[in-house]
């Protein structure tokens, strides 16, 4: 800005920036660097860290618990992401209608988004209770004997997916609503003059012009859900088969770090997760040309 030069200006830059920059370096940058270094060490917090080269990563390749966690993470993602991707879009299209009372619906769909994962996990744990829960009560009314949900690995995954979709669908819908808002009315007017029906407009105007938002949603979902943690940590019933078997990458990292005190090994695992997220995001960025439509091009 006008009038300030040299040291006088740098004084102000330091005054405003230093608190943030120093804190960021100490609490974010330094931990990132030290975590990367730890990944090549063996450390139980008691004795000094011992450099082991790539041993942690080699161990990871043969760690069946880790691969089990990878498998569950991928299983979960492959069911959850398509579901919430489609339901979120459907919800956004519905919420975008001008109807009296729609504000209430929108408020309601966002309630689970602001609630914490701990609260949501325990509410649904109660709802999925095989004997006294609402879900199996509802199924019983239809003459179906409900499963043991959070006791068995196979059904626990479905319970986790249902809970996660319930919590996130409002958030995804809101992202889509932002995209819908950005589509110019003139396209719809032109289509109407040409005699297009609602389905054709959805298929030929709304969806293509929404692809940038869809792309953003897909990236966000993948980044967030490779890191799925709380619901998997909290929901399976203690000491059940689901509790023993259903693990995801982050619960495996946390167990290794804080239950087994294997800080180096857990750090190595967390960097493998980062690498996975990085590669998947990179692939998505490369693939976007094939299906994402940018109006400006």
């Amino acid at each position: 800005m006008a009038g300030l030069h040299g040291w006088n200006k740098w004084k102000w830059v330091l005054f405003f920036l230093l608190p943030s920059l120093a804190g960021l370096c100490l609490f974010i940058v330094y931990p990132i660097v030290s975590s990367f270094w730890l990944a090549f060490n063996e450390w139980n917090l008691l004795r000094p860290p011992e450099f082991v080269g790539l041993a942690n990563f080699e161990e990871l390749l043969n760690d069946s618990a880790f691969w089990n966690a990878v498998r569950y993470t991928l299983t979960f993602i492959s069911i959850y992401i398509p579901t919430v991707f489609v339901l979120g879009l459907a919800l956004a299209l519905f919420l975008n209608q001008k109807l009296r009372g729609m504000v209430i619906v929108r408020t309601a769909t966002f309630l689970p988004v602001v609630a914490s994962w701990v609260v949501v996990s325990i509410i649904w744990k109660w709802i999925f209770n095989p004997q006294y829960g609402l879900v199996n009560y509802g199924l019983a009314q239809l003459g179906i004997t409900g499963p043991a949900w959070l006791f068995e690995p196979a059904t626990a995954v479905w319970a986790l997916v249902i809970t996660s979709v319930w919590k996130d669908v409002g958030y995804i819908a809101l992202l889509y609503l932002g995209g819908l808002q950005a589509i110019s009315e003139s396209y719809y007017e032109a289509a109407r003059i040409d005699g297009a029906n609602r389905w054709q407009m959805l298929r030929r105007i709304t969806v293509p012009l929404l692809t940038p938002t869809m792309f953003f949603v897909a990236i966000t979902l993948l980044i967030n859900y490779f890191q799925i943690f709380e619901q998997v940590w909290l929901m399976p019933m203690r000491d059940s088969a689901a509790d023993r078997q259903v693990e995801v990458i982050v619960t495996e990292v946390v167990k290794n770090a804080f239950s087994y005190n294997r800080m180096g090994y857990a750090s190595a695992m967390s960097w493998v997760l980062f690498a996975l997220i990085f590669v998947i995001t990179f692939i998505q960025l490369r693939l976007q040309k094939r299906w994402v439509y940018y109006e400006a091009d």
């Binding site: 102000w12 943030s20 931990p31 990132i32 589509i183 009315e185």
Partner: protein, 298 residues
């Protein structure tokens, strides 16, 4: 709401005749639309209602195979027992204290850095900003282990400092406010400079007041993040005198008795969720704006 208007008017324009005439098809459509609306509200609200209802039931009515939504008899007994089980007053205070102080601190620190990035020209500015952006890419699980070790090394284990200080330095908060500051007109600042004001005065008297909407958005997301946080507090604040509500709540539901005492667990959930739901209902606008403008998650 602004969001809906554009497309709605587009749809009305698409089918102008339908907007003024009631025919059987239109009545059927409206019925289906309102049925869907009610169904959606029920799906979203019922789990919360069930939580509240369970928390208000006496112990012997919890394990019933025919669920009752309206508790009869209704009792606050489980809240009293919750207060015995976890130090409720202390835990709630901890959560509130950490969330409020952390939010205020994060806004101040982020706003100052954002001001340096957006309103002062200096060499290397973009390079430093790229460092901020780069840290946003790192998954939180990569940070949890080294931060836990750092907190121990600093001697901060089981202190408020552990819960508050690392959260003050938010690259995301800086990013959000920088975007907002960049959009402000320069005229006021230049006029103030001519009048002999310095950066300090400009920051507090001009920039901050003009950027209130962005700060409100950041405040909401910061408060929500701190109030709901679980993974990080779980390992740096395990002692009861600094424990926050989500951590206390999670210990409550893991115990062997939790299988039967669902009314107490649900009372805990009510206490943990009510403040954030109230904040949301009053500040909905900023939530919506925050999500739409930046596509972020708390």
């Amino acid at each position: 709401m602004r969001l809906t208007k554009t497309l709605d008017s587009a749809q009305a324009a698409v089918n102008p005749a339908a907007a003024h005439r009631w025919n059987p098809g239109r009545i059927a459509l409206r019925t289906a639309q309102y049925a869907t609306m009610i169904l959606l509200i029920v799906i979203m609200v019922l789990p919360f209602a069930w939580m509240l209802s369970t928390s208000l039931k006496p112990q012997e009515f919890i394990l019933s195979t025919t669920p009752q939504l309206i508790p009869d008899p209704l009792t606050f007994d489980s809240y009293a027992r919750l207060a015995e089980r976890i130090n409720l007053g202390r835990t709630a205070f901890n959560s509130m204290f950490v969330a409020i102080v952390g939010t205020a601190g994060q806004i101040l620190v982020s706003a100052m850095a954002a001001f340096a990035f957006a309103r002062i020209q200096w060499r290397g500015r973009n390079l430093v900003f790229v460092l901020y952006l780069a840290t946003m890419m790192i998954p939180s699980v990569v940070l949890v282990i080294p931060q836990f070790i750092l907190i121990r090394q600093l001697g901060w284990a089981n202190t408020y400092a552990a819960l508050i200080v690392p959260g003050l330095f938010s690259a995301f908060g800086t990013f959000l406010l920088r975007q907002a500051f960049l959009q402000l007109p320069k005229d006021f600042e230049e006029a103030a400079f001519v009048d002999g004001a310095n950066y300090f005065t400009i920051f507090f008297r001009i920039t901050l007041p003009l950027a209130k909407p962005a700060m409100a958005t950041l405040a909401i997301f910061s408060f929500m993040g701190l109030w709901n946080a679980y993974l990080y507090p779980l390992f740096v604040a395990r002692r009861e005198d600094v424990m926050t509500l989500p951590v206390a709540l999670a210990t409550l539901q893991g115990g062997p008795r939790a299988l039967t005492e669902w009314n107490i667990v649900m009372a805990g959930a009510v206490v943990a969720v009510l403040p954030i739901l109230i904040v949301y209902l009053f500040a909905q606008r900023w939530f919506v704006q925050g999500v739409v403008s930046s596509g972020i998650k708390g």
